[in-house]
């Protein structure tokens, strides 16, 4: 707002009126006073921006008025009107803070210049004040924003479900949130700014992240991975973790580690698998009843035939009946074994073994039976697949199950003159695992059968299968960390491929294993 209000003070009323008229015509709003005392009252009432006052007045003179006004408001401009050559008063007035002075008689041009100067001073002061105020506002706003953001980040890190640990360029810990404290079991107060990576992590882990920092030029090229974290207090925790190596202008700034504690998830997963297995056993009951009934039919029939043989002293009947009974006893034994294997958790017992030799054993077991049904068994063993640390029992049972299924698949295909072949092959996988494939040209499966294949008590054998065979096979293979894949086509046959990775955790010395 431009300075526009002027107070004119002189004990000579004519001068006041003349100046007043002249200034009004220039567009100012003017107030008049004829003494120092009156001027002070008008000043207090109207707060003019500029005061033009004669220095010599009866009563309160111009200097006194100047002092009073400056006391009231130092921002106001006061122009002193002096007599010609009154140098002393002029200097005193300037010392008291007068903004300017003009000589009597007051000429319009001189007054105009003095007023302009006063107005310029006021305007500069106002702008300065406004800038200063704005600047203060802006600094305050920026400070609030920074505080807000920093609080937000602090809360974010604090409340994160991930454990976050960050190190600066000297590997000092600068971020360490409550989740991190849960994992590493050290209070934030003892860690933040007090420990380095070597004091929080095990030497192996610290070394690992130092290497990562050296190797990684980019900030975000390390995806989430899983590992078992070992703390310095020897606690082992399964975690998912991710690492960001931080750079600023290509300078290493530090590194952030994120950890997710998987203990609970792993426990739940385990529980889930166990309960699914139990549910499967439950569903199994009706299917089992059917299978057990078939066994019972065999046993009852067999014992009747034996009775008849005993009564008639008929050796042939005795033999037939007794074979039936023995066969069905074996079915009960197999079923019991399948059920136990399926419902119990079992750790593979790995030892040094030759996978190809196990294939030989299995082939020996089934060749005669297969031949009696015109099914030819062949094997193609990869000589590269030498001695490996695997669980031979897993291989034996899984392979025998798959081969028996392959034979059944051939028996089911009702083609009189087809040359049925079950081919068992081995090879060394690209990842070093042992790969076994069982291929048949039997009946194969349609999509529906294939998808139901690993569901409990699904049997395509019409009550002649336990419905557990493939489930048991799959479970054995998975416990061994392996996989099982199926490629099948209805009417043309199936290929079951089983991959078993070598068991790294176990001793290579198989002698101490039962």
């Amino acid at each position: 707002m431009p300075a526009n209000k002027i107070l004119i003070v002189d004990d000579e009323q004519v001068i006041v009126r003349l100046l007043s008229m002249s200034l009004k015509s220039d567009g100012y709003e003017t107030f008049s006073a004829f003494s120092g005392e009156e001027a002070l009252d008008v000043f207090k009432e109207h707060a003019p921006d500029i005061v033009v006052t004669d220095i010599k007045m009866p009563g309160m003179d111009g200097l006194e008025l100047l002092k009073k006004i400056k006391e009231l408001d130092p921002e106001k401009e006061v122009i002193i009107v002096t007599g010609h050559g009154d140098i002393d008063s002029t200097i005193t007035a300037l010392q008291f803070g007068a903004s300017d002075f003009i000589n009597k008689p007051v000429r319009d041009e001189a007054l105009a210049i003095a007023l302009d100067r006063a107005k310029t001073k006021i305007s500069i002061r106002e702008q300065l004040a406004s800038y200063t105020h704005d600047l203060e506002e802006k600094v305050a706003e920026a400070t609030r924003e920074i505080r807000r953001k920093s609080n937000f980040q602090r809360l974010l890190i604090h409340s994160s479900h991930d454990a976050i640990v960050a190190f600066d360029q000297d590997w000092q810990i600068v971020v360490y949130n409550p989740e991190a404290a849960k994992i590493f079991e050290k209070k934030p107060g003892d860690v933040l700014g007090k420990m380095t990576i070597d004091e929080l992590y095990t030497p192996e882990l610290a070394q690992y992240f130092r290497k990562e920092a050296e190797n990684k030029a980019n900030d975000r090229d390390m995806p989430w991975q899983e590992m078992t974290l070992e703390t310095r207090s020897k606690k082992k925790i399964p975690v998912r973790y991710a690492t960001n190596v931080l750079h600023e202008k290509k300078e290493f700034m530090g590194i952030v580690n994120f950890f997710q504690d998987l203990t609970e998830i792993k426990r739940l997963e385990k529980e889930l698998i166990q309960s699914e297995r139990m549910a499967a056993v439950g569903q199994t009951v009706s299917g089992l009843a059917h299978y057990v009934k078939n066994i019972l039919i065999g046993l009852k029939g067999g014992s009747y035939v034996v009775d008849v043989g005993l009564q008639n002293n008929n050796m042939e009947k005795l033999t037939t009946g007794w074979l039936t009974i023995k066969k069905n006893i074996k079915r009960v034994a197999d079923l019991t074994q399948d059920m136990l294997t399926y419902s119990k958790e079992r750790k593979p017992e790995a030892e040094l073994c030759f996978p190809n030799e196990i294939v030989d054993e299995v082939v020996d077991l089934v060749t005669d039976f297969a031949a009696s049904h015109n099914i030819h068994i062949t094997k193609i063993c990869d000589p590269e697949l030498g001695e490996m640390v695997l669980d031979p029992r897993t291989i034996h049972r899984a392979l025998l199950n798959l081969v028996n299924n392959a034979i059944e698949a051939c028996l089911e295909l009702e083609e009189e003159n087809k040359k049925f072949v079950v081919e068992i092959s081995t090879k060394k996988g690209d990842d070093g695992s042992a790969v076994f494939a069982v291929k048949d040209n039997g009946i194969g499966m349609d999509e529906e059968t294939r998808t139901k294949l690993f569901t409990p008590m699904f049997s395509s054998k019409g009550g002649k299968g336990t419905g557990l065979g493939l489930l048991v096979t799959k479970k054995l293979v998975e416990e061994h960390g392996g996989t099982i894949d199926i490629d099948t086509s209805l009417g043309y046959g199936s290929v079951f491929t089983m991959r078993l990775p070598e068991q790294p955790g176990d001793s290579r010395n198989g002698n101490n294993k039962g």
Partner: protein, 129 residues
């Protein structure tokens, strides 16, 4: 001359049991291992009665049963269904087949669920021949 009874079943244990029961009761046993063999045997040997399993490879007992009952020369041969499948399931499949094929066949003369005592089987046979 003793009467001829054909047993059609893929399970050798069941066959040896039924054959023994038949011999002990002075019938002449005939055996077939599946539906196709069963039909050939019926046409060739003209048995007085057929004991028929339901679930078998190569032409199930269901198919053979329908073949017999829709063949004018053979429909008079009495059939005992002898199976592990519950009668309810069997009739349900029959009903579905009837709707599908648009032909109705009579229910089996006698339906026996395995396992049975030898005497039950004998009683069933005696009811028919």
């Amino acid at each position: 001359m003793s009467k001829k009874v054909l047993v059609v079943d893929d399970d050798p244990d069941v066959r040896s049991f039924v054959v023994t029961v038949l011999e002990e009761n002075r019938y002449t046993p005939l055996v077939a291992c599946d539906g196709v063999e069963g039909l050939e045997m019926i046409q060739k040997e003209k048995p007085d009665l057929v004991i028929l399993d339901v679930l078998m490879p190569r032409g199930s007992g269901i198919r053979l049963y329908r073949q017999l009952k829709t063949d004018d020369a053979l429909k008079a041969v009495p059939v005992i269904m002898f199976t592990g499948i519950a009668l309810r399931s069997f009739l349900k499949s029959q009903k579905a087949l009837e709707e599908f094929k648009g032909e109705k066949v009579p229910e089996p003369d006698i339906y026996l669920e395995k396992p049975v005592e030898p005497q039950e089987l004998v009683d069933a046979i005696k009811k028919k021949i």
